[in-house]
Symmetry: D2
Subunit: 361 residues, 4 copies
């Protein structure tokens, strides 16, 4: 694999903070909710310029102003939204965000890499290193196995060094981000009795299901309701197992649909190998996330969705029983920002040597 032109950019992280250098950005899948959020954030990014917007069309139109899809962007972007085209991405583009269906991403990513573009893929097409996981969890055969090895799982707080040099970043799932950040410090430290089982009971707003219409997402079906879904079978399970190095028999993840637009609250139940005090746990996590500007470890209390909505933060808090052996970890994030578009831009910042929080803080 040849060296990337972009690799040079990365060499001195932070050096562009005051610079006027600009990357040219394309967003594929611009009409979805993650697309909207990417555009909101990119619109205030001092080092990014959106040069291409692409989608599979809208209301029968192939080319249209993006504000037809997202009225809140009225007057913000002069570039029209056009059909997805690898050719059109050949000029005036440095970085491509893929907010498309998994299989679209799988198909075009190899062609984009060939053209020396850097990719941040918000789909799941390159998140799993085990190619056999795709037919089981996603229902399709994976056609680009070698790229699964190259792709970097873009959970910024865990993998920033490899992200910095990556050509292809697989942006994590929203639920996965909330669960992995909640568990990683304690698991890596060996504090959790994994054999006793770990349970993550997670609650998400409806934007997490995307903008595609279905009766299940009709306002009346979601409003004044809450339901569990994907029991023992949700697609974010394999990436959690992979990143946390857990066996399926030791972990349960249950997502629930909340009648809110955005936000995830994850309540994770673990047993500790040895009794711990609350402040020990706080110290462990604060140490682990010392260099991570977008993780806030609470010294007391539990986070809630409102505290992180419209931000790139993940808040994490803890409660232990009287014995100090059973622990509840509560984590919260905005599924469209830290769980999707925000983390994608955080990764772009690192890939391009910009300050990590550019457009996010």
């Amino acid at each position: 694999m040849k060296a990337l032109a972009e690799a040079e950019i990365v060499s001195t992280p932070g050096k562009h903070e005051g610079s006027s250098r600009t990357v040219r950005v394309a967003v594929a899948g611009a009409t979805g909710y993650a697309g909207l959020e990417l555009l909101r954030l990119l619109g205030r990014h001092r080092h990014a310029r959106v040069t291409r917007l692409m989608s599979s069309g809208r209301d029968g139109k192939k080319e249209f102003p993006i504000e037809d899809s997202h009225p809140s962007l009225r007057g913000k972007f002069s570039v029209p939204c056009q059909p997805l085209s690898v050719e059109a991405l050949q000029s005036e583009v440095d970085v491509v965000f893929l907010a498309t269906p998994h299989q679209t991403a799988l198909e075009i990513a190899p062609q984009l890499l060939e053209r020396k573009l850097r990719i941040i893929d918000l789909s799941a097409a390159f998140r799993l290193t085990n190619v056999a996981a795709y037919p089981r969890w996603y229902g399709f055969e994976h056609s680009a196995q070698e790229m699964l090895q190259e792709a970097v799982y873009g959970l910024t707080e865990l993998n920033s060094a490899t992200i910095a040099k990556a050509r292809l970043v697989a942006n994590p799932g929203c639920y996965a981000t909330s669960v992995i950040l909640a568990l990683a410090p304690a698991i890596k430290k060996g504090w959790i009795d994994i054999g006793a089982g770990i349970i993550s009971d997670c609650k998400s707003g409806a934007s997490g299901a995307g903008r595609g219409v279905s009766e299940k997402l009709h306002f009346v079906e979601v409003n004044e309701n809450c339901r569990a879904y994907g029991l023992f079978s949700h697609r974010h399970v394999p990436e959690m197992l992979q990143e946390l190095d857990l066996a399926e028999k030791d972990f349960i993840f249950t997502p629930h649909l909340l009648p809110i637009t955005r936000g995830i609250l994850s309540t994770t139940y673990v047993r500790l190998s040895n009794p711990r005090a609350h402040e020990e746990v706080v110290a462990l996590y604060r140490d682990f996330y010392a260099g991570a500007p977008f993780v806030r470890v609470l010294g007391a209390g539990a986070p809630e969705i409102q505290s992180v909505a419209q931000t790139n933060y993940t808040d994490i808090g803890f409660s232990l029983d009287a014995d100090g052996t059973r622990m509840i970890i509560v984590s919260a994030l905005d599924n469209l920002i830290k769980g999707a578009a925000g983390q994608a831009i955080q990764n772009m910042n690192i890939m391009c040597g910009f300050a990590e929080g550019t457009a996010l803080a």
Copy 2:
């Protein structure tokens, strides 16, 4: 027109209150929101038995238990939901509720009448007496003009005598019910300066738009939002004009979509021909609705949606300016009950000689 078999039933209103007589009821369009509400109410109606459930199918299935569509009805109805069939309605059915698209109702109603069934049509197919209004407001030519003359506009409080004898009741639109009930007493009494213009600014929950999927009704699009639609062009305008005997130039109706499941709040602005005191207006309305068990005229304050949700009531309140010449009428009802299924059953009760409030109070 031949005498109705059913007409005999009607002869002595009220006589069935303590009786064990039962009408056999079919619901066409059972899988929609009005269908669900009809079934909820019919399930507790002591004189009705649901013998047929029909719909255009669900998830590719033509016949299925109704709880597949409405889990809240689990265990309530043993009769399956089947494809709409005039033939199947020939036996074991006395009354048919049509909660189908307008054009379906238009097509099958004549056949049902021929079979001597009585019909309560929740669509707009027979609401307008002027056949020319259909192409303009609904976009289709009306194929059964003679039935427009026979059909009775089923606003129970205004037309109960003709409803009692009707073969075909055109159940009013939800917005129309809230506006007509708010205006009828003052307009009929000549208290309103009609030339000064009447404005009804109405707000409705999302169930009013039906269960069909569309991006506009996606949870995320409706939640934390409010929008006006159908400005100067909503389909409920012609029935309001017709029933209130108003000219188009003197009336504005503006609907708005609220992020709630059910309920309509209508704020209507009028000028009075002569100054009036608040208590005069209250007295006028209380007198007008003296025999109407489901209209509550407030002596003070304005109604709100919560007070009427899950009920068949319409609440009406008034505010006058210091001069007593400008008046705001606020009316509230549940769009699925008084605005649809509840009023339909109220009409059935009157048609069949049952107590008006059976299953509704």
Copy 3:
């Protein structure tokens, strides 16, 4: 303890189904949300007549029409809401519903029993048999220890025989109802590996917190939010432990606040002692609840809040992992009905020999 006048009523359960006999009912705490729900349901109860409404006052008024507090009840109850008074309960009352604060119930219940009234207490004052639990979990000393032994825990499906004869029924907590019904069949059958730990992650609408004002319940704080609270410390824990015969170390209950008005969804995680098939579990639960008209055991899928809202049902469903050893039980109910007022009336029906579902089905 003297025989109750009321005890005679109970002797032949079911005998009043067609009768015109009426119990006279008082509701103390009528201005709260449980009070409203009691009144809605009692208003359609063919064997109950509300003769006394009591509360601690409203807007500085001691006596007022109940519709001042609950506008939806406009025109429904002519009896005014008055200050709580044991004296006023001496005449024209057979059954008293206490929907008051715990300590109010604790204080007046003994006096009411002395006057031979039957009591259904919606507070927690008499739910726990262990008097020592009160200072720990509720923060007050219990002053009527002997009544804790007499009181019957009013989870209808488990205790109907003793409820039938009870003078004092302690109506269960809303969360507790959802968790106990979800676990009782499997625990009593010995199918659950209790030592492996049981976790109930529960989500409730805001009406569960009552009508008292606080910043935490301000619309803006609850809307578009979700938060965990009462970690390892919620007051419903001891009644769950008591009724399920569990030790504190083996059970975790975590409540969450949902941005909805009503409904509880409980997701309960257990390990089974031996592998089971899904249909075995369904059969066990269906058998256990064979005589319980208000528990619906799902043969497939998981219940959701909308299916039980505005009803007295508890829906229960199951999911097992591939090995059949880890099981998720999802249960749903309406916290104001099955979790409070509905179960209270269900208990009254059984106490008075009425059909169990009167006013509830």
Copy 4:
């Protein structure tokens, strides 16, 4: 009145765009919703530094970290929230935002001006030039009549020249902003038949009512509800009349409470003196707001709340009847941003010579 030290700052609008100059800002009333929004926006303002946070206390504490009140600000502000003190404002402060009750603002503003601070008052204490309006609409006598003449009504789009030089800016009410911006161009141009009456039917989210607790703002009372309030009597009426030069008899304003957190949708009904085409109206408004970066005039369709939520924009759209004489103007804004904190900062930017959109775009 002495010249202001700050006046010099203002002399060359725009000159600070690239500068590193910083104003020191105090926020009084920091614990409310407008306070939170001010802090969010100020936190990303490149020329502002928050040096003082003040409030009347919280949970019995007089001094506390602001994140105790607003957890979303965790880690953002190191300065504690302290009791309101004119003395403490004497040092390290250039501009004071008052987000306090009206009478608090009335009391301290004169003292702050004396200390040569510049004030942006989000209360109504200085919005009305007619001192007699205060007892009628606000229920208190105004004690600083001379300041009513000096204060500038801070509707940025109409008054930017005087705002630039003002010592005391009276930030407009949220409803008033939405209505005045919707009407000003057509009224000033003389296109509206004012004698025919103007009606603004407005809908607002619950944050507009502030964070103070009351039963009316309990989640359960607001959720799944909509109600009109303040009919013919809302406090924002006089500022609308004043700024639009209308007589009370010609204008009706009716606010409604929506079950959403933030946003106002105003539907305004007017008659035109002469028939107009839609594009004429659009052209008039686009011309009028040509220099206003935060007003977006729609060429087609009606704005909705989601398009402006979380932004400082006001969107305005129009619908005319077939004759071109009756017009509906729909305007939408975020009540906490353009209707409060955003406009306040827009005003600060103009007062201080910063780019108008700093921290807002």
